[in-house]
């Protein structure tokens, strides 16, 4: 404006060119999206624009869910499913973690087991259902086994990856202070592998939920999976969707639970 400025030649603020590439959380958008989807479906099915063969009315699904709850059947289905999830995942994940750690620690175990695990990985569990009947019976055994089998391989892979990723300088530090092999494994390798193991857990548990349906193909009268299968065979879309929503919510719960465990156990991470 003044002469002084004019004398200094052109004078302008530096151009801004930063920002972006840093997504900021906007929680409400998620709810809006769900709400919009549900409203669209409701409107579509009501107006006949979506045929009842294609999608059930969301309000009917809600009704079905309400009935399920009121009749007490919800828990009759949920309890056995949760116990199957729990036992199956417990077996699969604990075995997987143990084998994964052994693979991470011992060259021979690694050389022997990694190809076996790689070969087992792409085997579809439902293909083996007839065999599972023979191997583990049609009781709870085969359901546990199927879920355990499905969670085992991803857990192994995540665990030995996590052990491989433990900072080698920490291990060298342990050795340089004369710590015993067992101390190093217990105090350095295991806690160091924990973040990787937990994030593997997330995936394994999601897979366990997915496998619930396959597991309950084998002689289950009650269980969310059995409920879904029956709904499917009766082409009862309301019940099918109610069951799927339950699994979906279960998945979200499990993921939140793992998140809490992570926050609790891995508070030391930056």
């Amino acid at each position: 404006m003044s002469d002084a400025t004019a004398n200094a030649g052109v004078q302008r603020p530096v151009a801004y060119r930063g920002g972006g590439f840093a997504p900021s959380p906007r929680r409400w958008v998620g709810f809006v999206v769900f709400a919009v989807l549900v409203v669209l479906a409701e409107w579509g099915t009501r107006s006949g624009w979506i045929s009842p063969l294609t999608l059930p009315k969301p309000s009917d699904v809600l009704d079905t869910f309400g009935d399920l709850y009121k009749s007490g059947l919800l828990f009759q289905h949920l309890v056995p499913s949760l116990s199957r999830l729990f036992m199956g995942a417990l077996i699969g994940i604990s075995l997987g973690v143990v084998i994964g750690i052994l693979i991470g620690l011992f060259s021979y175990v690694r050389a022997g087991m990694v190809p076996v695990v790689a070969a087992i990985f792409p085997i579809p569990k439902i293909a083996l259902l007839p065999l599972f009947v023979i191997w583990f019976g049609i009781g709870e055994g085969s359901k546990y086994a199927l879920i355990a089998f499905g969670t085992f391989t991803p857990t192994v892979v995540a665990t030995y990856g996590a052990v491989d990723n433990v900072d080698r300088t920490l291990i060298r530090m342990g050795q340089s202070f004369g710590l015993s092999w067992w101390s190093i494994v217990r105090k350095i390798v295991l806690p160091g592998a924990m973040p990787g193991i937990l994030s593997g857990l997330r995936i394994s548990l999601a897979i366990a939920i997915i496998l619930l349906v396959a597991a309950e193909m084998l002689g289950a009268e009650f269980g969310i999976g059995a409920y879904i299968l029956e709904a499917g065979s009766l082409y009862d879309l309301e019940r099918l969707f109610a069951g799927v929503v339950i699994l979906s919510v279960l998945g979200v719960f499990v993921s939140v639970a793992v998140g809490l465990v992570e926050r609790r156990l891995l508070g030391w991470r930056t």
Binding site: L53, V133, I134, M217, E230, Y235, D236
Partner: protein, 313 residues
């Protein structure tokens, strides 16, 4: 109509022979159809495929899913196919070797036993439940989804009993894996096992085409019944029919091995695709009483009786 393309759904079972015969012997072509057979692994998706319009006509057992789809206005039963008939080996009640050795030799002893079914609301469930009520006993039903899983469970003695078509029951019994302890027809005489059905649209709006289809289909039924049951063509006729069916069933086995199974599987198909409405009503009522389908579904929702003869009304 000339060379109208239609799709007919089928399973690779002898009970679908009528379609194979009608196709192979040109009855479909004569009726002006260019038929493409669409094969399924299980009956349930076939019903859904009719509903979605992917398949025009198919044959399958009455199941909860079928009724449900009919209720949604998607499909209609238009005729009958496989049925139980006195004097012809029909579906057998079998028990596992373990149960048999333990003394289970008659359906009346089934109380408290495990009965294998594929799914709730399947025809196995219906049969088992009727056997139980006829004998006045209680069984627990084990849904195992797949026939293979059921056979495995029977062999290893994890379930006690099951009912199955003769061509599967007989070889299993022959191998000592299971024992036949009764026939389904003793409990469900004239049981209409399978029905022909189509989409509600075809039934209502394509009457000409549907009629023509049923006519050609009935010719296939007549040929099959005549050759395999009434032996009108003698053994040579049976051989030729077996050869024809072998193009579709047990294709991966040589004909010598497949022939006994095909012959064992012979059961009567309803002549002229006539439908035993009493049996259908009985099945529908059972599904309703079990709470598997809505209680207010009527027979008219399920069946379009305008095409073939309705027996036992």
């Amino acid at each position: 109509a000339q060379n109208k393309k239609i799709k007919v759904g089928a399973l690779r079972f002898t009970s679908h022979s009528a379609s194979f015969v009608a196709l192979e012997r040109g009855y479909f072509a004569d009726a002006g159809f260019d038929v493409e057979l669409e094969f399924f692994q299980a009956a349930q998706p076939m019903a859904v495929a009719i509903a979605s319009g992917d398949v025009d006509y198919a044959v399958t057992a009455v199941s909860g899913g079928l009724i449900s789809l009919a209720e949604k206005g998607a499909i209609k039963v238009i005729g009958g196919a496989l049925k139980e008939e006195a004097g012809i080996d029909g579906q057998q009640i079998v028990v596992s070797d373990a149960a048999f050795q333990a003394g289970l030799a008659d359906p009346s002893q089934l109380d408290g036993k495990d009965y294998a079914i594929t799914q709730s609301g399947s025809s196995f469930h219906y049969v088992g439940s009727n056997v139980a009520s006829a004998e006045g006993l209680e069984m627990s039903y084990k849904p195992l989804q797949k026939v293979g899983a059921i056979i495995g469970a029977l062999r290893s003695g994890q379930v006690d009993a099951w009912n199955i078509v003769p061509h599967i029951a007989k070889p299993l019994a022959g191998a000592g894996a299971v024992h036949i302890i009764g026939a389904v027809q003793d409990y469900l005489p004239d049981y209409q096992i399978t029905t022909a059905f189509t989409s509600a649209n075809n039934a209502a709006n394509e009457r000409g085409q549907t009629k023509d289809f049923l006519a050609a289909f009935s010719k296939g039924i007549d040929d099959y019944n005549g050759t395999m049951i009434d032996k009108s063509g003698g053994d040579a006729g049976v051989d030729e029919m077996v050869k024809l069916i072998h193009k579709y069933v047990y294709t991966d086995r040589p004909i010598e091995k497949a022939a006994p199974s095909i012959i064992n599987g012979t059961m009567r198909l309803s002549p002229n695709a006539a439908l035993n409405v009493a049996s259908i009503q009985h099945q529908l009522s059972w599904f309703q009483s079990e709470g598997l389908v809505d209680a207010d579904i009527t027979l008219e929702t399920l069946v379009d009786g305008s095409y073939v003869e309705m027996i036992n009304i």
